[in-house]
């Protein structure tokens, strides 16, 4: 098999601190035009840091080379398949980047007068309108800077609406197949969480739901399709039960890629949903993104949306409307990650409604292609039809002493980023694969061949997997030690 990822520079890069010491700074400061003095004369002593012994002084080219070499250690979606389940690591079309670099957008300042930023405001308004239309909801905020931030914002909106009704209530119900951030968002918003056990098909158990619905329940937070990739077939009945209880239905939209353009959450009875633009809408994901987690809502929640919102004056021009008396306030500086919002708009406009539907169809097709070709080698705990991702586990390999982590590490040797492992928690030893729609059949076949090779190795030479990775720069880390006793700053004594 051809080596898929070339080991361009196979040496390990040392830290800047470990480079040969010396005063090689090439940074020239302009001459002082103020009297010189001691730092301590200007800055309170308690704020002054001690000198850092061994602080590296390097010239420009050394620093550039250091970071360029580090960048070659990276694995990214421009290098190959990135099948990290639940993360939708799709390709980010370069046209998004091209548009985001247009100086009128890239150099706009958030404090510029509205008259000079009509184009930027139009981008925000247009994206808002399209997200509302795509999801079948009534309003949206573009401010949240990440998915979990969107979740928190959504929960704050629910709390505000319930408070306006007279009682914020106390509990949030969360199925055990939901995303791990959901309980954290609910707790951060002052709610206690109650876990709902999934039924045998991995969906919400309606009897379990009925048992838990009481006057203290503020909302049900569900991920659709759930983390098994299974669509909640009773979603309309779930919505009916939740609404009859005076509660809200929150949909975690992280998996929206599975049904965008095919069905609309608003038609299913969803009240609040966050969208991960860095997943479904092809903006950069990983390495800090930055992300964007807009929240779409139904009519009752619109008055509480964060401010400002883009509105239209009678003369047709746009302005930022701060006159929102019931708003929960700002949830981010200015208007969210504008450059990211712009990229998402570019993606939506380029795809169009037919294109977005095809995104979902191809994402589902790709995942099922992998599922079909790997299900002889890997155990599938939940066997019902799945959408955009498939969750295998290590049951077939466990008897040979090979576990999920071993196979994930072996994938690194063979040139692929591993899938999500050990999540969702309801499948012990989970291997969660989400190829996205971006991949060609050839790429999928290469991944399938590699996974089958690993299954064969597990039968014939398990040690190869238990010792993996061997062919990349670093062998297996002691992750437990790193988490228990993290060393977060460079220490000279740490050197051998």
């Amino acid at each position: 098999m051809t080596q898929r990822v070339r080991k361009t520079i196979s040496i390990n890069e040392s830290l800047l601190f470990e480079q040969v010491p010396g005063n090689r700074s090439t940074c020239d400061f302009p001459p002082l035009d103020v009297p010189s003095g001691e730092m301590a004369d200007y800055v309170p002593r308690e704020l002054l840091r001690d000198d850092i012994p061994g602080f590296p002084e390097l010239n420009e080219v050394e620093v550039v080379r250091h970071f360029t070499r580090l960048s070659t250690h990276n694995y990214h979606v421009d290098l190959g398949l990135y099948p990290l389940g639940s993360c939708t690591m799709k390709y980010n079309p370069k046209i998004n980047e091209k548009l985001a670099r247009i100086p009128a957008f890239a150099q706009a300042h958030p404090l510029q007068l509205h008259e000079n930023t009509q184009g930027c405001l139009k981008v925000l308004q247009k994206l808002a309108d399209l997200l509302v239309k795509i999801t079948g909801m009534d309003g949206v905020t573009l401010q949240p800077l990440a998915g979990a931030h969107g979740e928190l914002t959504g929960m704050m909106l629910i709390r505000a609406a319930l408070t306006a009704r007279g009682n914020p209530r106390k509990k949030v119900l969360i199925p055990d197949s939901a995303h791990g951030t959901n309980p954290a968002s609910a707790v951060l918003c002052g709610y206690t969480t109650v876990t709902l056990k999934s039924n045998a098909s991995g969906c919400i158990d309606l009897d379990e739901l009925r048992r838990h619905l009481d006057p203290d329940v503020a909302c049900l937070m569900m991920t659709v399709p759930n983390t098994l990739g299974v669509f909640e077939e009773n979603i309309q009945e779930v919505a009916r039960l939740v609404h009859a209880n005076g509660s809200f239905l929150y949909m975690d939209g992280a998996n929206f890629n599975a049904f965008i353009g095919v069905a609309r959450p608003g038609d299913m009875g969803v009240d609040v949903m966050h969208l991960n633009l860095h997943k479904t809408f092809s903006t950069p994901h990983g390495g800090g993104g930055p992300g964007a987690g807009p929240v779409v809502v139904v009519k009752e929640l619109v008055p509480f949306l964060p401010m400002p919102v883009v509105s239209t004056k009678t003369d047709g021009s746009l302005f930022l409307d701060y006159n929102r008396p019931q708003s929960i306030g700002r949830v981010a500086a200015f208007y969210g990650n504008f450059g990211i919002l712009l990229r998402a708009l570019a993606y939506i406009l380029r795809e169009g409604s037919d294109g977005l539907r095809q995104v979902a169809e191809n994402a589902v097709l790709n995942a099922n292609y992998i599922r079909h070709h790997l299900s002889r080698d890997f155990h599938l705990e939940y066997r019902q039809p799945t959408l955009h991702e498939v969750v295998f586990d290590d049951k077939n390999q466990a008897d040979a002493g090979v576990h999920t982590m071993d196979m994930a590490k072996r994938l690194l040797d063979l040139g692929f980023h591993p899938p999500t492992v050990y999540f969702p928690l309801i499948v012990p030893g989970a291997i969660m694969i989400e190829p996205t729609e971006s991949e060609s059949r050839a790429e999928l076949d290469a991944f399938i061949d590699t996974m089958r090779q690993i299954a064969q190795e597990a039968r014939e030479s398990p040690k190869l997997l238990q010792d993996a990775p061997q062919d990349i720069r670093s062998t297996r880390f002691d992750e437990a030690l790193a988490a228990r006793k993290p060393v977060l700053i460079w220490k000279e004594t740490g050197q051998a």
Binding site: G180, T193, T195, M405, V421, Y422, F423, L425, P428, E479, A480, A483, R484
Partner: protein
Amino acid sequence: MYSDDYLYTKEHEWVRVENGEATLGITHHAQEELGEIVFVELPEVGKVLAAGDTLGSVESVKAVSDVYAPVSGEVIAANDLLADKPELVNQEPHSGGWIARIRLSDKSELDGLMSADDYEAYLGEEKKH
């Protein structure tokens, strides 16, 4: 592996009752499933919990898992040793890796927990499915 002196929950906690006080932790099976534990979030002493409430959490290299109060009552002690040595939960899950002690407010709740035999049968069931 599973002592008859302990009671067990479906969420894989164990409980040992002495003089109206319940010492609890996670079972050998639970620590094995979680893998190497890197952090244990302990409950505050003095906190009053109802059975089923989240008491703390256990974090491993694989996952974070809630620990639920198997019985209702006030937390009277937490195993502070785990702050520096979370690996005790792996090494001695049923003794040195205990997590908290609760003063029982309702002894009848113990009737709802499993015996060692029942728990082992339950583990067998879980494995099959």
